[in-house]
Symmetry: C2
Subunit: 99 residues, 2 copies
């Protein structure tokens, strides 16, 4: 499995719009095993995304899906910055549901 833990900070007050775009665009991604979108509890403009995929190839391929490409275009004006991304190798746990 291939995992990514990352965060995105939006321009002030734009987090909910950004979350709505993410929620809509990430429902049908082949190879996705877990994809959790979360508000940072301390920073009002930061969103965390924690992802688990069956492989890096499935993750990379997801970026070419029409829904995802459209979401990136819609969301780009809302971005202020990306946090440091952590790459992981998930081993197990609960809530890992292969599509």
């Amino acid at each position: 499995m291939y995992g990514i833990i990352g965060n995105i900070t939006t321009h002030p007050g734009r987090r909910e719009e950004f979350i709505a775009i993410l929620l809509k665009s990430t429902t049908k991604m082949p190879g996705c095993i877990s994809y959790v979108i979360a508000r940072d509890a301390a920073d009002p403009d930061t969103v965390w995304v924690t992802e688990v995929w069956d492989s890096k190839e499935s993750h990379d391929a997801s970026l070419t899906l029409p829904e995802v490409r459209e979401a990136i275009t819609q969301a780009r004006p809302l971005f202020a910055s990306f946090g440091k991304q952590v790459i992981t190798s998930p081993v197990g746990g609960y809530g890992l549901t292969p599509r």
Copy 2:
């Protein structure tokens, strides 16, 4: 929902033992919606745990479960340090499976 993103670094070479304890002890936690255990791809002694709970109360209560208390006792000698923990408010995504 209540979320935690955190990492633990074990003493050198002890990561797999630590992961085995975590995998065994986290299978039956009421209120747990997602619990992903992952190796850091860059640091050979670091483990990431990303958790989603129905409430902070369910998370806190999990720490008193016999399986979890026993795991904490077993795992303590393997710990070197904790990373900064991020508290989140998960909003949705894929793989969120209420128990």
